[in-house]
Amino acid sequence: MTLLDFARGPALAWSLYILFFGSLLRLVGVLLARKHVDLSQPRNADTLGDSVRTVFTRFWFKPEFRASTLFITLIGYAMHIGLAVVVLLFVPHILFISKLSGLSWGGLPNDTIMLAGAITLAALVAMWVRRLQNPLMQAISNWEDHLALFITGLPVLTGMMAYGHLFQDYPTLLAIHILSVELLFVWFPFGKLFHAVMWIPTRFKLGAHFSRRGVKA
């Protein structure tokens, strides 16, 4: 069995088992956890509207924070949109997703995907440099923040290397690319990357919390 056979076969199967097992475990566990009993008097009893609103208002910063957050917000968008384009609009990726989901849609030409990949990588590097240099970020970062950036960037980097046949033959690079994605699958449910699923419930909960206390946020 070659490295590529291993990556496309058993490694892929097991990483997917772990991905789905871990994601469901964490999602169900969190959603069913008992609500925090708040004995204080609510300023606002009907929090639903504010909760839903918060899910969306957090897509952009408040004007007051412009100076401190504009850069990282733009970088963040570049990274996330770039990643989404690469993951969801590269035809071989679409075929893989359609095998899992049965859904299918059109893709983009390869050079567009490469451009998106390059933007994603550059943005990830910028985020990492900021995390290393900004004193506040230094103070609130732990090893997992660095790991999350690394695990996200690795598949993009290896994918682009495979596409360009850099340093190695294509089958080996493809195997390394697939293995790096499998690493992402395995780590995804258990670390901070799970925000990709949790961002909605988290913002909703935060919205409810603030609303109850009468905070406009």
Binding site: M1, T2, L4, D5, R8, G9, P10, L12, A13, L16, Y17, I18, F20, F21, G22, S23, L24, L25, R26, L27, V28, G29, L31, L32, A33, R34, V37, V91, P92, H93, L95, F96, K99, L100, G106, G107, L108, P109, N110, D111, H165, D169, Y170, P171, L174, I178
Partner: protein, 357 residues
């Protein structure tokens, strides 16, 4: 049997002119996938080349390789090459049979000990006392070992001999294995494919004949001249792949326009062979040009790399049930954990109410 005349002498004896010889060298260079600038070097080497003895053993195989070779599209050039090698033993092509054939093999081995070229096609069964394939009362392994011992080099022709091929495909009922798994003390050169392109077989033999050495090999033992680039890298449909234009079925608009066959399972990106440039049947076409994706036949275990019609990026796992099971298990444990936490909290609350202190 071998004699002492050089190829140059033989060709001139047969009445070939100097221009004819240069033409022969040009065709040979092209066959060996060498650049035309090498023609003078080839001419010089062929002029001096001596006649090697070749013993050809066929084991677990379908004779597709011999069929392919004898249908080479440049019969004159190849017949000149083959006239010049002394094919001393070949099951399918030799006239002798039975004891006579075996005697010819033994005689050729003795006379050219240490110098002959051994060509093998077919895999070698290892299970159940190796009973699944035998010749003249010898198991394939015995014959392979015996002949390989006195060979200068071994050429494994076809995917069966090179990597096990169809006989070794899962579940491999005969325990088939391949030449380089068994012969480790001699140079082994692989010429895989199912079957190999005739020009690639004769080009490889021509290289040995011309230079007396084996050509440069890749990590899977294949001559780089022919297997140095992937089908995908030399595929004329590649521009469509880059533009994201794919045939979705074998008879849709895209298929008729000659778009890329990736979605229909083409394994060209991970297959190394010369089909895209050398092509088949006098350079007429090759599978992708005929509208069918590459099945990857020059790669080890190509039978077991998932469906021929499954896109490469889909992976080889087939585990919808497995994933559903994993997700179900995750959800169940999540529910159990949440419930457990809740009941512990409720108990704690109750205690707290009873005894707020």
């Amino acid at each position: 049997m071998s004699d002492d005349k050089t190829l140059g002498e033989r060709l001139r004896e047969s009445g070939l002119s100097r221009r004819g010889f240069m033409k022969f060298c040009a065709a040979t260079a092209s066959m060996m996938a060498l650049p035309p600038s090498m023609i003078p070097a080839i001419a010089a080497a062929l002029e001096k080349a001596r006649r090697p003895s070749v013993i050809w053993l066929s084991f677990q195989e379908c004779t597709g390789y011999t069929e392919s070779l004898t249908r080479s599209h440049s019969p004159t050039i190849e017949s000149l090459i083959f006239d010049h090698i002394s094919l001393d033993y070949h099951h399918t092509l030799q006239a002798a049979a039975g004891d006579g054939a075996e005697a010819a093999r033994k005689a050729a081995m003795k006379e050219n000990w240490g110098k002959y070229l051994l060509v093998v096609d077919g895999a070698i069964p290892q299970k159940d006392g190796r009973v699944y394939s035998a010749i003249a009362g010898m198991t394939n392994l015995e014959m392979l070992k015996e002949v390989a011992e006195g060979a200068a080099a071994v050429v494994a022709v076809g995917t069966c001999a090179a990597y096990g091929g169809l006989p070794k495909a899962s579940p491999n009922p005969t325990g088939a294995t391949y030449v380089s798994d068994l012969i480790t003390d001699k140079p082994v050169l692989n010429v895989p494919s199912c079957p190999p392109i005739p020009v690639v077989i004769s080009g490889t033999l021509a290289h040995y004949l011309t230079f007396g050495t084996l050509p440069e090999l890749d990590h899977l033992g294949r001559p780089k001249a022919f297997y140095g680039q992937s089908i995908h890298d030399r595929c004329y449909r590649r521009p469509f792949y880059e533009r994201g234009q794919f045939a979705e079925t074998f008879d849709d608009e895209g298929a008729r326009k000659g778009w890329c066959l990736y979605k229909l399972g083409c394994k060209g990106p991970v297959t190394y062979n010369a089909c895209a440039t050398t092509k088949w049947n006098e350079g007429t076409s090759f599978p992708i040009q005929s509208g069918h994706g590459c099945i990857g036949c020059s790669e080890p275990d190509f039978w077991d790399k998932g469906g021929f019609y499954e896109a490469l990026s889909k992976g080889t796992f087939s585990s919808a049930e497995g994933i559903a099971l994993a997700a179900g298990a995750g959800a169940a444990i999540g529910v159990a954990a949440a419930m457990g936490a809740k009941s512990r909290q409720t108990e704690a609350d109750a205690k707290h109410k009873e005894d707020p202190a």
